[in-house]
């Protein structure tokens, strides 16, 4: 009897001890990857060097400017946001390699604003953030495919898609330029193909379409484009390319005294960037432009004033242009999402926060965001403006008229969205 009792006692002690060890070995609170009690780490990949980097390489500085301001004012529930940036030179193999480093080595909580359709796609298939549960927030591309929640369940877009933009342009043309000859300059890749689909839905017939190979948009190429548009006698010419294409086109047009009615897409339409390349303000004057966020020169807008003040202090001497505004806006939205994710944010709670509250996140855009439990679509439209005598884009008749639509066959409607006021001191509430 005694032996049995001793054996039972020993076994019981052993069991209790093991359970006790296991219990005490558990961390007091399950920490999420990339989140500590003092820090939240986010990761970004984009071209910082190389021919595709022009303009975009200002985005990290812009985002960090906002995050630094935020961190100096208490961060998110006491945690500072750290942004790890890696240069992928716009090559998908490097995007994958650097994203692997961000997720597996730097162990970031989420990916923020990765740039480039081909790159985001490669990361989606190779790194597979969806399977790893890593949120991919506010991708920096207008490719409509990324809103597909079945294919990209953890990905959220922010920029209106190229299809949306083309449809809105098409609507504006129908209202104002019916019967005129329309010409289109487009980049022969994801950009352009998405746009062509949108124009088709909008029922726009082009008198002349000029594709350009991405990477070839210099002055010599521009002279060729203009010759084609002249030959087709286009009245309205839509420039649906990147900034370097727009600058080349407008600069060369000035030299050749070519003055059709210009219509600039938002991607290549930033007035500050274009003017810095030497295009005279007079050339831009009268062109029609689109943007989802307020004009970067509109100092009456509280967001523009707030962001440009912070940026001027953080990166003195650098022009506040559309890339900077969008970069800071994205950082702002990320901060809102992290705040809404709760006092102990996890990747799941972050995504749940965007799903449930994303549509109401404060941000500078003048059009609503479409986040919901079934949609990861971000901004859904644009306002239409005209470039003034100064060459800056301004709303027509000083009032922002916004249009919204979807990436499918939905109609283009004039939006009645009223942007809520900016939270106090520009900090997430």
């Amino acid at each position: 009897m005694k032996a049995l009792q001793r054996r039972t006692l020993l076994t019981a002690t052993a069991v209790l001890a093991t359970v006790g060890l296991a219990v005490t070995a558990l961390p007091a609170q399950a920490a999420e990857v990339g989140v500590t009690s003092s820090q939240i780490k986010l990761g970004m990949t984009l071209p910082m060097t190389g021919t595709a980097s022009l303009g975009y390489n200002k985005i990290p500085g812009a985002a960090k400017a906002y995050f630094d301001y935020l961190n100096a004012n208490g961060g998110i529930n006491g945690r500072k946001i750290t942004l790890v940036v890696k240069d992928d030179r716009y090559v998908p193999t490097e995007a994958v390699a650097k994203t692997n480093e961000l997720i597996l080595k730097d162990k970031v909580m989420a990916l923020l604003a990765p740039l480039g359709t081909a790159n985001v796609k490669a990361v989606a298939t190779s790194v597979n953030p969806a399977r790893r549960g890593v949120p991919v927030l506010f991708v920096n591309t207008g490719f409509s495919g990324f809103a597909d929640t079945k294919k990209y369940p953890t990905t959220y877009t922010v920029l209106p898609s190229y299809i949306m933009e083309a449809k809105i342009m098409g609507e504006y043309i129908k209202e104002n330029f019916a019967g005129k000859k329309i010409g289109l300059l487009y980049q022969d890749d994801d950009f352009g193909i998405d746009a062509l689909a949108g124009f088709k839905t909008a029922g726009v017939n082009f008198a002349v379409k000029v594709p350009y190979a991405s990477g070839s948009q210099g002055a010599a190429a521009a002279a060729g484009w203009i010759t084609k548009f002249k030959a087709a006698e286009a009245d309205v010419v839509i420039l649906f390319g990147v900034s370097s294409a727009t600058s080349a086109m407008l600069g060369t047009a000035a030299q050749l005294s070519y003055r059709p009615q210009w219509m600039l897409g938002s991607v290549g339409g930033d007035a500050t960037t274009i003017k810095l390349t030497g295009v005279p303000a007079g050339v831009l004057n009268g062109a029609i432009g689109f943007s989802p966020v307020p004009a970067t020169t509109d100092m009456n807008d509280e967001y523009v004033k707030f962001f440009s003040d912070i940026y001027a202090k953080a990166v003195p001497g650098s022009a506040f242009d559309l890339n900077v505004l969008l970069g800071m806006n994205t950082a702002f939205m990320a901060a809102q999402a992290l705040k809404a994710a709760g006092p102990n944010p996890t990747r799941k709670s972050l995504m749940a926060a965007i799903d449930s509250k994303g549509a109401t996140f404060a941000n500078s855009a003048l059009v609503p965001a479409g986040y919901s439990k079934t949609s990861h679509v971000g901004l859904t439209g644009y306002w239409v403006g005209k470039y003034a005598v100064t060459g800056d884009l301004e709303p027509i008749n000083k009032t922002y008229v916004t249009y919204t639509t979807d990436s499918g066959s939905g109609a283009v409607v004039k939006s009645t969205y009223k942007r809520p006021a900016m939270p106090a001191k520009g900090l997430p509430n």
Binding site: N57, V96, A97, L104, A118, K121, Q187
Partner: protein, 335 residues
Amino acid sequence: MHKSKKQSTHLPLFILGGIVLVILSGFVDELRVYQGATIAVYVIAISSIILLTGYSGQVSLGHGALMAVGAYAAAVLRAEFNLPIILCFIAAVLAAAVGGTLLGAAAARLSGPYLAGTTLALAIGLPSLANQFPILGGEQGLAFDVGFPPLALGEDFTQYKWYFWIAALAALMSMWSVRNILNSAYGRSWRAGRGNEVAAQLAGINTARSKVLAFTISAGIAGLAGALLAMTIGTVSPSAFPLALSFSLLTGAVLSGISTLGGVIIGSVILVAIPEIADVVAHRLGSSESVTTNLPGLIVSGLLILTVLFVPNGPVEQHRARKAKHEAAHKSTKK
């Protein structure tokens, strides 16, 4: 009269190497496993350069384009016909080899810089061609999905490990093949043609045909590397095959030793490791934004120059040369 020793194929060595790699992959974290797959891809691609440039003496600045041909062939077959992966890879080799034959035929009449210029133009032009044909997916690319690892390998077997196994297996097989090709009569005829074309012709070697053959085989191998590259990133798009890739292959070949197959692994590891190390160094030393952004590029380019100047024939060859000198010195003192 010496009887020429038949070079053994060293097959058991390669099999052993494979087993070691399989075991290693179980202990290494995912990031390194992925890099291992990338290294395997470079090993294959660089060995194709060594064959073409080191042995056959023809400089190609456009092997990135040949990789693209293989990658697109594999991706299109997979996307349109859902062929099993092994067939896709074989198709990649064949498609690229055909491209290589055409290129080689054109190149047979061209020497040194003229060949370099042609291959350079190819490297830039060919990938952008994909934007002209919708079936090739345009700039956003075609997905290339090799599928999940077989369930037999267990629940925890990650996708990257699967990529590594496939790539490593392909690398071992292609290395073994390349080694045997280089040691064969073909290899000898290439070396002969490279050294002195007229003498080779007098010796009965059809140098033109041998050069085209070199291009064909080299291209096929590059095509395989391209398909494997597409596998690791899951897509093919023109931007995945920039001019810089062709330059990297040449760089890797120089780092490995342009005419020694043995150093390929060293060259490939350096190619993959340097950007990461440069990044770390840059952040350690970096003061301003512009310095940290540009320091990695500077380090890589600087390393390239230093290697060409001081280790021009690669570390393996350098070591052999030093040993030979040492032995020669020994022999003369022994007298």
